[in-house]
Symmetry: C2
Subunit: 355 residues, 2 copies
């Protein structure tokens, strides 16, 4: 605390990310990274840019990257906004679109950075409780609001809803922006991006993606949002009032190559989904209840063993998963889907703990 | 424009960076990049991190980088804040420290991003006119204020003031934070960082650096601020409410190696300063008046040729410099110091234009 802080600083409750332990020989299943590396083409592209040209500023508009994203998703380049990880994209959109007279809405159990952005920018919000099965009921959101945001699939539950349902919500919510945070969409969830294609692109839908999960580039820091060109223009105004060059030369080059290698993404995601189904089945045999997941993680609980106790017992065995103290999910573990080998280590450890 | 923007968005006047033209065979002297590449050790460090580990998040606290910066400057690690270029560091400090009841103060001719941040965060500001020789008079700043910021050397003038003068200003300004933006300090200006060393570190001085100029890593995006641990803690609160991981793995690794290679910095900066003196002399022979520069650029004018006309004439010859339409400096050119070869090309072109 310092008397020199702006008054807002003392009111902040900063986000606490999952830990990045430096221990060796660790089974790290706590921050939803891909167990496989990025596309080899991304590594080659980064290497080819690691030259004396790093003395030069990058393209402030990331034109090549926007073009690659637009091409992949059947959009125009002016429908694409890029940032230094999807967290930066989210931060900018909270300020650019959600600082309104009405409170914004998001689920009570969701990505815990949303209320943090609200405090930073002094935005009012209201949380909407998930249903008994931890599902998002889109009809709950039919109240006056300054904006709506939720992940699809939701995190940390892993539950997803259909594009049809999102289209219906969008139709009913014509007065504010609806943001679908699709960080985990590539593991079996319907993307809402097709709603943005063509001349009837809705004016108030934004879809956010990250390259940190399915593209396996958490260490490079790239995310993006797609939507109507007028929404994108608002985001660009905020970005250009904050940092002209959020993405360096290596990030832009690696991201272009990763986005272009869709075959690699499909192969690695399909492997993760296969491992997920095997893990859910094996956990069920151990007595765990697991929420249906369309993500690269699961939320699971054991009726006889508390979440925190299991988290600690796994940790003692060198296996790091995520435990949230949030009411309603304090008895759960969120487990990232790893390789088959890591999954086997996890299951052996759980067997030992439960015995 | 969109009815879905937050009201503040329409009021913004985004910063316009110097252009990054894609033309080949260009003499690019417009954005103050180093004409030499980064330390070869930085390139090696980046290469060694370009592996499958990019799938993993980076260290959210950039501990190794903070330690390297602290060691170089004789500070403690908790006196160091790092960000995605010094523009991000500046953005965070405007929100964290400058959102006060009184307006903040900065020179009328200075880094043109400062008023942009003020609009973004709805911060009042007042500009202080430079003196007749474009100098900063620190006594002008002895008025009630919510904070003071200026670059030393100032940009785009290149003029610097002494550490003694800054210490005196700091002593008189005990009620708000004084920020010295030392983006160009390594080209012959006294740094204020020594004032921060030891147990008597002032509570309200912050010094900002970038790796984009003297460290020749504009393409990597790394900057930092150093100051009292309590000021740094305020910056960390804002950063952790915005983006947990502003610096990727490659940026952290490259920056550590660059910061550690002080010999390389000294060698390249001394070469740039030598070229600068030769350029100033040659320009004088052509009739130009150049402000005394302690930076890797000069601000110069010709009594008989307008700045915009010269800018265009150079551009037609493939030489890009920077011209500002700001009153008082509209007749000047800001020219980045390049290699001796680029300097020769510039001088030949000017000779041709003036004849």
């Amino acid at each position: 605390m310092s008397r020199f802080w702006s008054p807002v600083v003392a009111t902040l409750t900063p986000y606490v990310p999952g830990e990045q332990p430096q221990m060796q020989r660790l089974v790290k299943l706590n921050t939803n990274e891909s167990p496989y590396g990025p596309s080899p083409k991304a590594l080659t592209a980064i290497q080819s840019q690691t030259t004396d040209d790093l003395r030069l500023y990058p393209d402030p508009e990331s034109k090549a990257l926007k073009a690659a994203i637009a091409k992949l998703h059947g959009l125009e380049a002016n429908q694409v906004f890029v940032g230094n990880g999807s967290d930066e994209v989210l931060a900018h959109l909270f300020l650019a679109l959600f600082k309104q007279k009405q409170p914004i809405l998001f689920p009570d159990i969701t990505y815990s950075f949303y209320p943090v952005y609200c405090k930073l920018y002094e935005i009012e919000y209201q949380t909407m409780p998930l249903g008994p099965e931890f599902e998002i009921n889109t009809t709950d959101y039919e109240v006056p609001n300054g904006g709506i945001i939720f992940p699809n699939p939701n995190a940390p539950t892993g539950r997803s809803i259909s594009r049809t349902e999102i289209a219906a919500l969008l139709k009913r919510n014509s007065g504010s922006v609806l943001v679908i945070d699709e960080a985990y969409v590539d593991y079996g969830t319907e993307s809402s991006i097709p709603l943005l294609r063509g001349p009837n692109c809705p004016e108030n839908l934004l879809v956010v993606h990250t390259l940190s999960k399915s593209r396996a580039l958490a260490g490079l820091r790239v995310g993006f949002a797609v939507g109507h060109p007028d929404l994108i223009a608002g985001l660009e105004r905020v970005k250009d009032s904050f940092n002209s060059y959020p993405l360096g030369r290596l990030a832009q080059a690696g991201a272009v190559a990763a986005v272009e290698d869709q075959a690699y993404l499909e192969r690695t995601c399909s492997k993760v989904m296969q491992t997920r189904e095997q893990l859910v089945e094996a956990l069920s045999a151990l007595g765990f209840d697991t929420l249906p997941s369309s993500a690269n993680f699961i939320l699971t609980r054991h009726p006889k063993h508390g979440g925190e106790k299991l988290y600690q017992a796994l940790r003692e065995r060198g296996i790091i998963v995520r435990h949230f103290k949030t009411p309603r999910i304090a008895n759960f573990l969120r487990i990232t889907i790893g390789t088959d080998e890591q999954t086997q280590e996890l299951l052996s450890a759980l067997q030992e703990i439960l015995n």
